[in-house]
C-alpha cells in the first residue's frame, strides 16, 4: 500500500502520539526526574567552574554545590529504567545504546559517582589544587557519557 505524503504525516503524528501516550506514568516520572537531576548537577557544576575560574573561589558556594552533585550522582541510575529511551515517545536525548550496552553505561555512571565524591572531599578540604583536579575528573566523567550515550542538541 502506498501512502500519500499527507497520509504519511498523519500516520507519523498519530504513531508518535500513541507512543507518547504508551509510556507508563513510572517511565514519564523517571525521564522527568533524570532531566531535572542532570539539570541541577549541571548548574552546580557550573557554579564550581565559575568559582574556580575567578581565581579566588567562594568556598561556601563550592562546598554546597559539590555536596549537591555528590548527593544527586548516585540517584541517576534508577532514572534509566528499560523503556525510557527513544522508544518511549517521550522527548529525551538518551540514546538506545544505554540499554544495549548497559555494562559501559553502568561503568560511566559509577565513575561519575566516584568523581563527584572526590569533588566533594576536595571542596571540603579547601585545597585549591585538589579541587581543580577533582573538577577535571568530574568533567571528564560527564563528557565520556555524553559523547557515547546522549544525542546532540
Amino acid at each position: 500500500m502506498k501512502l500519500s505524503g499527507r497520509a504519511t504525516a498523519i500516520l507519523i503524528a498519530t504513531t508518535g502520539a500513541v507512543a507518547a501516550s504508551a509510556a507508563t506514568p513510572q517511565i514519564v516520572a523517571a525521564v522527568n526526574a533524570r532531566k531535572a537531576n542532570y539539570k541541577e548537577i549541571g548548574g552546580a557544576f557550573k557554579t564550581i567552574n565559575d568559582e574556580i575560574k575567578s581565581g579566588n573561589p567562594d568556598m561556601n558556594a563550592v562546598k554546597t554545590a559539590a555536596r549537591d552533585i555528590a548527593a544527586r550522582a548516585p540517584q541517576q541510575l534508577k532514572y534509566f529504567p528499560k523503556g525510557s529511551g527513544p522508544e518511549s515517545g517521550i522527548k529525551t536525548r538518551a540514546k538506545a545504546v544505554i540499554w544495549a550496552d548497559q555494562a559501559t553505561f553502568l561503568k560511566g555512571q559509577q565513575e561519575l559517582v566516584a568523581a563527584s565524591a572526590a569533588l566533594q572531599t576536595a571542596a571540603m578540604s579547601g585545597d585549591g589544587a585538589a579541587l581543580a583536579s577533582a573538577r577535571t575528573r568530574t568533567a571528564a566523567a560527564c563528557k565520556s557519557c555524553h559523547d557515547r550515550f546522549r544525542e546532540e542538541d
Partner: protein, 453 residues
Amino acid sequence: MSNPMYGRRAFLLKGALGGAAMTVGIPLLDAFLDGNGAAFAATLGGGRLPVRFGTWFWGCGMIPDRWQPKATGSGYDLPPQLAPIKAVQQHVSVLSGFDVILDGKGNLPHISGNTAVRTGAPTDNWQTIQGPTLDVIIADAIGAGSVFRSIDLSADGNSRTSYSFRNGNSMNAAVPTAAELYGKLFGPDFHDPNKAEFTPDPRYIARRSVLSAVSEQRRALLARVGAADRARLDQYFTAIREVEEKLSLKLQKPPPAEACVLPGKLAPSKADVDYTDVAERRADHKLMASLLAMGLACNQTRIFNMAYSTAASDLRRAGNTTGYHQSTHEELVDRSIGYQPTVDHFATESMAAWADFVEALAAIKEGDGTLLDNMLVFAHSDVSYAKNHDVTGIPVMLAGRAGGKVKTGLHINAPAEPISRIGLTLQQVMGIPADAWGQDAMRTRRPVSEILV
C-alpha cells in the same frame, strides 16, 4: 493527676436550653489541683504544666562559614552570624547539615526547601503538598485545650505570609502586626485566668447551643456524600469543631496560670509603618514575641508559627531599594573577605531577631523554670547558603526543653541526613505516636536521638 473524675469534662455542667444542648462551666475547685497548686493542667488532660510548640521562620538562610559552628556538642562556638544568640545560647541547639533530598526533583528556590522541612516532602508549590505542615499535625493533637488551636504570626505586616497549611487549599492566615495580636489575645473576649470570679457570657451559651443542634444533621450529611465532598466537609467541620471547642472554653472558668499577667495596652502604632525596614521589623517582631509569650503563659494557645521574614526574605535597610533577597543574587562576593557583606548583615540581623524571640519566651517564669522550659520552638529557613539557594544543610535551631524531654545548648551536625528526621523528632517529643514521617527519599524512622533526654 490522672483520675478521670478530674479530667477536662469535670469543668462542665451539661443541660438543655430551649431544646438544645448547652454546657456551662463551674468554678475551679481545689480538687482539680495538685498539692502545690501548680499542676492546673491536669484538668486539661495532663499532670504537668502544658508543653507548647511553635515554629520560627526566617527567609534566605545564611552563609555557611559564618553561621555554622565548627565544634559539635555542648558549648559550641558562635561564628559571626550566630553571635547575636550568645545571651540565649544555653537555650538553643543548632542542627546543621541536614538535607532536603530532592530525589530527581528540581530545586524550586524558596519553596522546595520550605515545603520539605514542614511537610516531609519537597514540592514545587504549596498547593501540591502531600500532607499538612507539622505544626498542624501537632496542633490537632494538643491544641484543643486552649482558646486558639494555633496562632499564626507574620512580622511583615502581611496576613498571607504563612507557612502553615492543613492542605494545599487551606493556609492558616497570619496575624500581621503587634496591634492585631494584642486584640486577638487580650481583647474584649479575654478572661483573666487568675481572677476569682467568672461569669459565662450568655452570647457563647447561645452560639454553642446552635452548633450542637446541627451535629446530627452533620453526621447524616457526611454519610450521604462521596469521598471528595466528604474531604471538603471534613475540612469545614474541623473548623466548626474548633469553634465549638473555643465556645466550650469560653463557658468554663479558665484554669489559673501563675505566669499570666494581662499586658498593658499598646501605644497606638505609627501610621504607614514600613515593615520591610529591618529596624521597624525587628521592633514590631520583638513586641509580638512578648505578647505571644504572655498569650502562651495565659493558655490562649499552645501552638504558634512566627514568620519573621518571608521566604525570599523581604528585608531591606531604610533608604535602600535593594533588599536582602535581591542582594543574594546581585551583590558580588567581596573576594577580600570571602562573602557578600550586605547578605551577611541581613542574615546576622535575622539571628538577632531570633535571639529576641527566645529571650521573650525565657523571660517569663513558670513553675520551677521558665515558659521556654515548657516549650519546643523549631526555627528554620527556606534555603541554606543564601547566594546559591541550596537546600542541602538548611539551618535549623531548637529552643526550649519541652517540659524536660529535650536537651538544649547542643550543636549536632549530620551531613546528608534527611531533614525530615527533625520533623519526626518534634512530633514524637510532642507526644504524637508517629514512628515514621516524610515521603519517598525523605521518609525516615530515625529521630534525632542526640537531643532527647
